[in-house]
């Protein structure tokens, strides 16, 4: 339900009554086909909200190109709504989808749980701000620039300056606008928005794609590339020609009255304050809670934190203060896409835990008639040509296309339809298919992307295998791009229909098979991630086998005593372990090692050796939560001098009240030890927070202690920035160093003759050498992949990334899944992360597991590859290109032969292109079908092709 707001919420967890207010869009959604003819006719031009008001849109419009549902709405700029004039759109709409009589509608829904995902807004600098936004035309925000870069943006993907519509050549980005503000009143927020460093780098890379000579400069305070693979992304941006990263506070000074160029003032280490002119300045604006968040919180009766985001508990960051109301995404705080996806899936898993007893009670299965076997029949093809209102019909002569279709071989029926996707037309296709005994259906309309599934169902309704359907795209590929060449467009429609019919003749019925799903899960790794995930799965009625390599559960969290935000980690861990052991559906295996694992989604077998002996577990899903380890430093006298220790060792000593550390005069903490270097080209993400935490704790115990943190970039992203500032306020000294000039340590004596560690480093602010006498030096040692990760990966046929952490299926979109179905990922096995983030991802993985385990079967696509053994020469080229390991080479009497496991095959067809003999064929996209389509492109060739000798011989192989 889009364009709908929540009006009121009553009730309690498991039984809410939510009143919704559906705003009138003045469009009957079920009738609108998204053809946008009305938009063309609408006379009102209005600043396009989606394109940051840089360009214009109409009063009736689709909000943006990929909107779901893809239907129009009418906004307040409409002439009729304002003055009761116009109504042009009504007459333009052939489907009568416009209804000006719509009024706000109150809808009451009964739900068991609520997920709040209100998202964020981009910070907008106030008029009169120090950066000239709103005053100087060529100062834009990161959000404005994002639209400028986009092909569907205001200038169709061209980056143009507002002042003269010319391409800017020299562009500056200014970071931390509205974020990390010391005095947040008016200027924004105290927290770090966590995403801007990387989005600015992305914008630079895209800018260079547009104009490889562009000169780009990013002014920043720290580069916070703390996310997975962000460090490499940063390096990619850094290496671009004409690209500069300048660490400096920056202000916008003036605009040139003639050229409208913008002058920026900044400071440098060597040359003092400098001024420089740019064609355009992009303000990397931060994130801010949505404008109406307080109203929303009031309606739901939930608490917000000081920053205006949801008040959450560290142990369950998806739970709001009201039971039954969960949250996901950036409502937790500034968040990147992968974390938003974890929490979305995680919140759904928690709803599942709450409502599991009612699972499946409201679902109804759709019943289709039995399928008629038509494989022996001659093709009888029906062609339906769609007008798409005026979209196609106005350009292409649909009646002549119908007439033409009737002349094609095997076409026994052809007709036109106003909107083939409208429900009456759908019924008509089903009825005609039955009545005329059609066994293939071609719909010539739009792109198969949106509507193919719908049309396939019409065939199923008619008792025909759904793979007998073919779509010809005469809209996007034709009428929309050839609107000025009507005759040619009609000819092209003939071509497209002829090609579709040619392919349709070669379509084959395919079976989508149901694989049974074993309802049990295996979770590998008994740390916070594994335990949280196991509990969430078990709470939804599934047996879980939890495997832990060590003697005890707990993992890395055993070494952590409290978090920056104040959680007592050991108490929480004990409670979690107790819950796991006392859960009747969780079976714990300690000192466990996987000896073998095989199978596929829904049907795995894992053999485990553990304290319990050898066990064979049959399960439907596996979660990898093997955690990570800490790097053992070899630098900075670690292991040679017992005054040098890691950050975790320091934490332990603080916890144990070791006076050597708590009573020390001076402590130096060195960041980035063992990572952000050639050996480990990534940021360990948690160490800046860890050191700030230790520093604050030490200051609390001994306020007079001198604490120095030697860092490269302080990466206290999100709300952690507040603690960084707190530490600075308490006079923890932050001194930056460069990787090529690392701090040096030698054992020595202080002036008073006290034995100390002498730490020397360059102070870039003062431009001088610093010498610090330290009693203790702590090293922020890198987080490294867990030992044994490789073996676990090998067992479940999933890959590790370049840095040795597990490689998820898609960095942004599928961060808890693997390319291999049925295997999931959470915790530090994926990448270093804080405890709250681990909990988010653990619930996220549980959510995905439940999506699989809550079904009795999984459906495997029919469009998979198969091998004609006779033609196979056993060269294994196919197996080498299959990213899913779906092809196996077996020895047979006739030599090596490839065989496809259809369950693992994803139907990309790369193997087909590689096979020298055409032995491996992707069903539904066979050589035969595609050659037929290629041949049919040339009209009079239909006959010639039959006589000329085809490339891959298409003769049927007789089975001997």
């Amino acid at each position: 339900m889009t364009y709908t707001e929540v009006d009121n919420v009553e009730g309690e967890a498991g039984n809410f009554k939510v009143t919704l207010l559906k705003k009138p869009r003045y469009i009957i959604e079920s009738k609108c086909t998204g053809c946008t003819t009305c938009v063309e006719y609408c006379p009102v031009k209005y600043p396009d909200q989606f394109n940051q008001e840089i360009s214009k849109n109409k009063a009736i419009h689709i909000y943006f190109a990929q909107a779901i549902p893809l239907v129009t709405y009418i906004d307040e700029s409409c002439l009729y709504l304002k003055d009761k004039k116009c109504r042009i759109c009504e007459s333009a709409c052939k489907n009568k989808a416009i209804d000006f009589n719509q009024a706000p509608e109150r809808i009451e829904v009964k739900v068991g749980a609520v997920i709040l995902a209100p998202g964020i807004e981009a910070f907008t600098p106030k008029i009169g701000n120090e950066y000239g936004y709103g005053k100087f035309q060529n100062v834009v925000t990161g959000m404005d620039y994002e639209r400028l870069l986009c092909a569907t943006g205001p200038y169709e993907g061209e980056i143009l300056r507002a002042s003269d519509k010319k391409h800017p050549h020299k562009i500056a980005w200014i970071s931390c606008i509205g974020s990390r503000q010391v005095n947040p009143k008016g200027a924004g927020h105290s927290y770090c928005s966590a995403v801007c460093c990387t989005y600015a780098q992305k914008q630079v890379i895209l800018t260079k794609d547009h104009d490889s000579d562009a000169e780009c400069t990013i002014f920043h305070n720290d580069i916070r590339s703390y996310g997975k693979d962000f460090e490499r992304f940063f390096q990619r941006a850094e290496k671009l020609s004409g690209m500069r990263f300048i660490r400096s506070y920056t202000s916008v000074v003036r605009e040139d009255p003639v050229t409208k160029n913008v002058t920026v003032r900044y400071s440098t280490n060597d040359n003092g304050v400098k001024e420089e002119e740019f064609d355009m300045v992009v303000l990397s604006v931060g994130l801010t809670p949505p404008a109406e968040v307080k109203k929303l919180a009031g309606k739901f009766g939930i608490e917000l934190n000081d920053h205006g985001y949801c008040q959450i508990k560290e142990t369950n960051p998806m739970q709001s203060s009201r039971p039954g109301v969960f949250i996901s995404g950036a409502f937790q705080g500034p968040t990147d896409i992968p974390e938003s996806v974890f929490t979305a899936s995680g919140a759904s898993s928690q709803c599942g835990e709450l409502l599991d007893y009612r699972r499946g009670k409201l679902t109804e299965e759709r019943i289709f008639p039995p399928e008629r076997d038509v494989s022996k029949e001659e093709p009888r093809i029906g062609v339906f040509v769609c007008h798409c209102g005026a979209n196609i019909g106005r350009i292409v002569s649909v009646p002549s296309a119908v007439e033409y279709a009737l002349t094609l071989p095997n076409v026994v029926h052809a007709q036109e339809q106003l909107f083939s996707c409208a429900s009456n037309s759908i019924r008509e296709i089903t009825d005609i298919t039955k009545e005329k005994g059609l066994n293939r259906v071609v719909v010539a309309a739009c792109s198969p992307r949106t509507l193919e599934p719908l049309f396939r169902e019409t065939l199923r309704d008619a008792g025909i295998n759904q793979y007998y359907y073919e779509m010809g795209n005469i809209r996007e590929h034709n009428s929309w791009v050839h609107s000025k060449e009507k005759e040619d467009a009609t000819d092209k429609a003939f071509d497209i229909i002829r090609m579709s019919v040619a392919r349709a003749r070669h379509l084959e019925p395919l079976k989508e098979f149901d694989l049974p799903v074993n309802k049990t899960a295996v979770v590998v790794g008994g740390g916070i991630a594994g335990m949280t995930c196991a509990l969430s799965i078990a709470n939804q009625g599934h047996e879980v086998h939890l495997l832990e390599r060590e003697k005890d559960l707990g993992g890395m969290a055993r070494k952590i005593y409290h978090t920056l935000e104040g959680l007592d980690v050991q108490a929480y861990l004990q409670d979690l372990i107790k819950k796991v052991y006392s859960h009747p559906s969780i079976h714990v295996y300690t000192q466990a090692a996987i000896t073998e694992a095989f199978g596929y989604v829904g049907n795995f077998t894992t053999r485990v050796k553990s304290e319990k002996g050898t066990t064979e577990i049959k399960h439907g899903a596996a979660v990898i939560a093997t955690g990570a380890d800490v790097y053992k430093p070899t630098e900075y006298l670690y292991g040679q001098d017992d005054r040098v220790m890691t950050h975790l060792e320091l934490e332990e000593r603080i916890h144990n009240g070791d006076e050597k550390v708590t009573k020390a005069n001076s402590i130096v903490m060195i960041q980035c030890v063992g990572c952000r270097n050639e050996d480990r080209n990534y940021c360990s993400r948690i160490c800046c927070g860890e050191s700030v935490k230790n520093a604050l704790k030490l200051k609390e115990l001994n306020p007079r202690m001198d604490i120095y943190i030697l860092y490269r970039d302080m990466r206290t992203y999100g709300f952690r920035e507040d603690f960084y500032r707190q530490a600075a306020d308490k006079e923890v000294k932050f001194i930056r160093y460069e990787p090529q000039e690392k701090p040096q340590i030698i054992a020595g004596e202080s002036q008073e003759g006290r034995p100390v560690l002498k730490v020397t480093a360059t102070d870039y602010v003062l431009g001088s050498q610093l010498e610090i006498d330290a009693d203790i030096v702590t090293l922020a040692a890198a987080i490294v992949p867990a030992p044994g990760a490789k073996e676990v990966g090998f067992a479940y046929k999933v890959n590790l990334g370049m840095d040795g952490f597990f490689q998820e299926a898609h960095v942004k979109l599928r961060p808890v899944e693997f390319a291999a179905d049925g295997v999931y990922l959470c915790g530090m096995a994926h990448y270093p992360k804080h405890i709250t983030e681990t909990i988010n991802q653990a619930y996220g993985a549980a959510g995905r597991v439940l999506t699989l385990l809550s079904h009795d079967t999984v459906i495997a696509s029919g469009s998979v590859c198969s091998v004609d053994e006779k033609k196979c020469m056993g060269c294994s080229a196919c197996a080498a290109v299959c990213a899913y390991g779906a092809i196996e080479i077996r020895d047979t009497k006739q030599g090596k032969k490839a065989i496809v496991n259809p369950i693992l095959c994803k139907g990309d067809g790369l193997c087909n292109a590689r096979c020298p003999t055409g032995a491996i064929q992707l069903k539904h996209f066979t050589d035969k079908g595609l050659f037929a389509q290629i041949d049919a492109m040339v009209p009079n060739l239909l006959d010639i092709a039959k006589h000329s000798k085809p490339v891959m011989r298409e003769k049927e192989v007789s089975t001997k």
């Binding site: 990213a883 006739q894 990309d908 020298p916 003999t917 032995a919 011989r953």
Partner: protein, 238 residues
């Protein structure tokens, strides 16, 4: 189906049908929504196909691959208009290259027939990921492809040595070997895909299959004179 599914033979088929230009659109490189990155495969195939086109005198600009996202309608429109303009400049297939229609057709057929052989010899390379556009041009050199095509072998069964054991015939993926019982086997050169399977599987004690490069293939013995000369018998005769 991924752009990596587009096979070399599809492209050649289009040209053989007299199509003047072939365009392949793929997703943006490095932005695969799966883990296959198949667009790199499509790119490599195009680089190879261009060299094959050059080998037979066709202008390689008639084939183009571009990578773009579904949100880049404008880019697509620009690329297509530009490509159409380019192809129009080049003129009808063969005409712009001053190639006789029949000669062109014959050459395309010849290339097409070599596809299986070319695939066998370029397979490993076709899977590479070329991260820099500067690598594209030298990925397949003209010399390399010319040599590959010029040195395409033919396989021939020596009537003196064949013992009609049927092994090669059973293993031939193209069913190109005529193998009547007790008669020496014959490779139908029209059907042969030059994969070399027969060469590999002919028992070493017979060694009847020979690889011929650059020389005409001897004609097989006429029908009626194909009885196997058994090795044993041969000895007796001697």
């Amino acid at each position: 189906m991924c752009s990596g599914r587009i096979a070399l033979e599809f492209v050649l088929r289009a040209f053989a049908n007299g199509i003047d230009g072939v365009f392949i659109g793929g997703c943006r490189l490095n932005e695969c929504n799966y883990i296959t990155q198949g667009n790199y495969h499509a790119l490599n195939m195009v680089l190879l196909a261009k060299r094959m086109m050059q080998h037979i005198g066709l202008n390689p600009d008639r084939l183009r691959i571009e990578f773009m996202s579904s949100a880049e309608g404008v880019v697509f429109a620009e690329v297509m208009s530009d490509f159409a303009r380019k192809v129009r400049e080049l003129g009808p297939l063969g005409y712009g290259e001053s190639l006789d229609e029949n000669v062109l057709k014959a050459r395309l057929m010849e290339m097409t027939a070599l596809v299986p052989y070319i695939k066998v010899h370029t397979n490993e390379k076709l899977g590479k990921r070329l991260l820099e556009p500067s690598e594209y041009d030298k990925f397949f050199t003209q010399d390399e492809v010319d040599k590959l095509v010029n040195e395409a072998p033919a396989y021939y069964i020596d009537p003196q040595k064949c013992q009609a054991c049927m092994i090669c015939a059973r293993r031939c993926p193209a069913e190109a070997i005529i193998s009547n019982k007790g008669e020496i086997h014959i490779i139908n050169q029209e059907e042969c895909i030059k994969c070399g399977t027969c060469f590999d599987v002919c028992p070493p004690r017979f060694g009847a299959v020979t690889k011929i490069v650059g020389l005409p293939v001897p004609l097989p013995p006429p029908e009626g004179q194909r009885a196997v000369i058994r090795k044993k018998q041969e000895k007796e005769v001697a």
